[in-house]
């Protein structure tokens, strides 16, 4: 796609979209939203980047190695928090019972494991969207090469 307006506008709004996505993820325990919605916003911003510039530029920003590390780490953070709860003497995925500090309600750093898990889910969702998008698009390119 070689559209000047699309490129210019998306270059302008991309940072805001990503910042907003990050905001939604980090404030998941305080306001509407959370890991899924925020992760989806971040993922969508990367897809917008790839669509308005081109695929090569997009995959240069996020290589396959990095995206597969991100995918695994998002899920591993989640499962790891559960295992930490067990190590702390509570049941799997316990929060208050495992002694995570709940902090002052309303603060950014509050509610123990919830914030961390939300962050992990955010990473997971964003990287999943990006990976699926790129792998489907790349497949399309390959089949064009074949024919």
């Amino acid at each position: 796609m070689e559209d000047v307006i699309v490129r210019y506008v998306s270059r302008f709004i991309l940072p805001f979209v990503q910042l907003y996505g990050l905001y939604v993820v980090l404030h998941g325990h305080l306001s509407p939203g959370g890991g899924f919605s925020g992760g989806a916003v971040i993922g969508a911003s990367m897809i917008l980047y790839a669509l308005s510039f081109n695929l090569a530029a997009g995959s240069k920003k996020l290589s396959h190695d990095v995206s597969s590390i991100l995918e695994s780490s998002g899920a591993l953070i989640f499962a790891g928090m559960g295992l930490i709860s067990i190590l702390l003497g509570a049941n799997f995925l316990a929060n208050r019972a495992a002694g995570f500090p709940l902090g002052t309600p309303g603060n950014l750093f509050s509610s123990g494991s919830i914030a961390i898990i939300t962050f992990g889910v955010g990473i997971k969702v964003a990287s999943t969207m990006i990976t699926l998008f790129y792998s489907l698009i790349e497949e399309e390119d390959h089949s064009h090469d074949h024919h």
């Binding site: 998941g28 325990h29 305080l30 306001s31 509407p32 939203g33 959370g34 890991g35 995918e71 998002g74 899920a75 989640f78 499962a79 559960g82 799997f92 995925l93 929060n95 208050r96 709940l102 902090g103 309600p105 309303g106 509050s110 509610s111 123990g112 494991s113 919830i114 898990i117 939300t118 992990g120 889910v121 997971k124 969702v125 999943t128 990976t131 699926l132 792998s135 489907l136 497949e139």
Partner: protein, 89 residues
């Protein structure tokens, strides 16, 4: 012929479902059986028990976090299945 059969089949499903909708408890009625001690505790105690203002967040990442782990796993399995399928051919 096939179309007619499908339409008949769907009509039967629809009649059965609509008949059950007629019998279902009214939407939004505070006396419904779903408004029992379960959501009450979520709404009243979640601030004290989880420290999160967003009750939905406290449910999906604390009270029922195992579902959400399952859900992250669904995303993961979708990636694994899709990528393995795309790479295999």
């Amino acid at each position: 012929m096939r179309k007619l059969l499908i339409l008949f089949f769907l009509a039967v499903i629809m009649v059965v479902m609509v008949a059950t909708v007629v019998e279902m408890p009214t939407i939004g009625d505070p006396a419904n059986v779903t408004n029992n001690e379960v959501p009450r505790r979520y709404v009243e105690e979640s601030l004290k028990e989880t420290g999160a203002l967003n009750v939905i967040a406290s449910i999906i990442t604390d009270y029922r976090a195992f579902d959400t782990l399952g859900e992250a796993t669904v995303l993961f399995v979708a990636i694994a299945a899709a990528l393995s399928n795309l790479k295999a051919h």
